[in-house]
């Protein structure tokens, strides 16, 4: 109850000098604003990027043979498939091309794939079917269109069974894919899928240079990755002839980098919080001097040292906590505004960052309030009463 009175008195002291309290708070407001804003932006950005990248598949490795002359043959992959750790192997190739139909044309990426590609990526079709084993075997001129390709070439009409001209060859449309998130890294919207064998003929490439490999779990994936490396090392003389990209590892590394980045930015912004704290200490010291007489009166009528200490501590904590809350609200508003202009990333403030910033601002008020408060409490009542 005595504490409640102290809080009441401290708050009324803060409000009785509004301009000064606000300016003192400003340091904390800016500190908390910059800390929460920077960390939230980095975290939201990281979240978006990792989400996009994980659509590439966190549980798969992509193998590319980089040395121009070297190739794998289709049946050679069977050797890898035999490995227990390996779940699916999907060979593919891709090239730039132009798709034309009914006088319209569209720049596309042509993917030569097999049915395994669908098995790995779980593609959703709005109509028709995906490529089959037969399509591969007979090198049929059939294609599956990405959503954007189908819309631009055929508008609202159904693309199924229509003819699309790709690289001077006519293809029958056997399937259309559902529209995917524009910003997903692996978006199929602007792609055209044709049988791998057909693609090899169009792009005049023999053998296989790229394939995706999946496993049931992380451990198996690692085993599979080693197996692939061994296999390719046997096949080719130098290990610089190929690259194996493990998306999970990349995501891990990126996560670490982003964490370091947000820590660094948070730390730099934290300095402004520190400066804000010094501002509080400064103004509290001025306040103690100004209120020397008040302290003297309070002591004369029976205030203990602890009463005075608590009163001034509450004042500084109240200032910094209020600054923290205002800074937090401002950063929430700023992120909301930012979300109106930046559609690629959704910025949100995470509860842990909010908690961290608030407890930090309380700590700042506490730490920088101790010295002025104890200075006030130590004043001798006689000298304080005589102070003009």
């Amino acid at each position: 109850m005595k504490f409640r009175q102290s809080v009441k008195m401290a708050i009324s002291a803060v409000f009785s000098n509004k301009m000064r309290s606000f300016l003192t708070m400003l340091g904390i407001i800016i500190g908390v604003l910059s800390v929460t804003l920077l960390i939230s932006i980095v975290q939201s950005g990281t979240g978006t990027i990792t989400d996009a990248m994980s659509t590439l598949g966190g549980d798969q490795v992509t193998v590319s043979i980089t040395e121009g002359e070297k190739r794998l043959l289709y049946f050679e992959l069977d050797e890898l498939k035999a490995n227990e750790a390996v779940n699916i192997i999907a060979p593919y190739m891709s090239g730039k091309g132009v798709a034309k139909a009914g006088g319209k044309s569209k720049d596309v990426t042509v993917y030569g794939v097999t049915k395994e590609y669908d098995a790995i990526n779980n593609l959703t079709l709005t109509g028709g079917r995906f490529l089959s084993e037969l399509d591969r075997e007979y090198r049929l001129n059939v294609c599956v269109l990405g959503a954007e390709v189908a819309e631009e070439l055929f508008g609202r009409e159904s693309a199924l069974d229509r003819t699309v001209r790709i690289q001077g060859k006519d293809f029958r449309v056997i399937g259309v894919l559902e529209e995917e998130d524009e910003y997903a890294m692996n978006s199929t919207n602007r792609r055209v899928f044709i049988p791998l064998t057909t693609a090899q003929r169009i792009f005049k490439q023999t053998g296989i240079t790229n394939f995706i490999l999946t496993a049931d779990n992380k451990a198996a994936l690692r085993t599979a990755q080693t197996a692939v490396a061994d296999f390719l090392d046997n096949k080719f003389s130098e290990d610089s002839d190929y690259t194996i990209i493990n998306m999970a590892e990349i995501l891990d590394i990126m996560g670490t980098v982003m964490n370091t980045l947000s820590l660094m930015l948070g730390g730099i912004a934290g300095i402004s919080l520190l400066v804000g704290g010094i501002g509080i200490m400064n103004i509290m010291l001025v306040s103690v001097t100004e209120r020397t007489r008040e302290i003297g009166i309070r002591k004369a009528i029976g205030a203990q040292r602890s009463d005075i200490t608590i009163q001034f501590m509450i004042e500084s904590i109240f200032i910094s906590l209020m600054g923290g809350v205002i800074g937090m609200l401002l950063s929430i508003v700023t992120l909301k505004v930012l979300n109106h202009f930046v559609t690629e990333v959704t910025f949100v403030i995470s509860p842990s960052v909010a908690m961290l910033a608030l407890s930090f601002s309380i700590a700042v008020g506490l730490i920088f309030g101790i010295y002025p408060a104890s200075k006030a409490a130590k004043l001798s009542p006689i000298n304080a009463l005589r102070y003009e």
């Binding site: 008040e294 309070r298 009528i301 029976g302």
Partner: protein, 240 residues
């Protein structure tokens, strides 16, 4: 009861030794009204600080209601000031941002009294000084005399053993001075113990007993026979 025995307070000013209090012995009985009179530099402020537990004597013994103040910690001194002493200052010393009510309530808050009880005491005190209509005014909305009455109410609120008034009329015009003095007499009649410190002989003469201080020593201690004072009490005091 207040008992000072052989109190010394000595300041070192450069090479010189200033004896602010030079062996003061003084007893104030309950319900007494004593004026401490002296010119500036007589040691009356020092005496007030020591009696008010704001300062500690270098030597001697000081008892409030039988409790020796000399060996008290800072914490206990604050408790003494809070419970045993009611201060009335020349400068009123009200907190400007608090209302009359809140000013009177403050010592009760430091005492840790629950809110309901505080309300009763504050209203009772303000009633005694006749300010029940000014409870929620700030000091700057009150006249000097009214401010001093708030200060008196604050001193009364804790039901202290001693009301210590340091030049209570020093900053007041003659009409307000009369008001405050009448109030002090009224409080005395109601049974409060009052120690009034002043340089004004006319004010001092209103007390039932005058103690004159000069150069840190008590030079005279006389009782005025008044209608309200008990003759035998005055006699026994005056004989020392």
């Amino acid at each position: 009861m207040i008992e000072l025995q052989n109190i010394y307070k000595i300041y070192q000013v450069g090479e010189e030794e200033v004896r602010a209090l030079d062996g003061v012995t003084l007893t104030v009985q309950d319900h007494e009204f004593v004026a401490i009179e002296g010119s500036s530099g007589s040691g009356k402020s020092t005496l007030m600080n020591i009696v008010g537990c704001l300062d500690i004597a270098d030597e001697g013994d000081y008892y409030i209601d039988g409790q020796n103040v000399m060996d008290l910690s800072e914490h206990s001194l604050a408790v003494m000031r809070n419970k045993k002493i009611g201060f009335i200052f020349q400068q009123f010393n009200l907190l400007p941002k608090l209302t009359a009510y809140e000013n009177v309530e403050l010592p009760l808050i430091y005492q840790g009294l629950p809110g309901r009880e505080r309300k009763i005491r504050v209203e009772e005190s303000l009633m005694k000084v006749g300010l029940e209509n000014r409870m929620f005014h700030r000091p700057n909305q009150l006249s000097g005399g009214q401010q001093q009455r708030v200060a008196v109410a604050r001193a009364l609120a804790t039901h202290p053993s001693l009301i210590l008034a340091d030049e209570p009329t020093g900053n007041l015009d003659s009409k307000s001075t009369r008001d405050i003095m009448d109030l002090i007499h009224e409080l005395h009649r109601q049974g409060n113990t009052i120690m009034l410190i002043t340089h004004d002989t006319a004010i001092a003469r209103e007390a039932e007993r005058q103690v004159q201080l000069m150069d840190g020593k008590i030079v005279s201690d006389t009782a005025r026979i008044s209608a309200s004072a008990k003759t035998e009490a005055a006699d026994s005091e005056g004989s020392r």
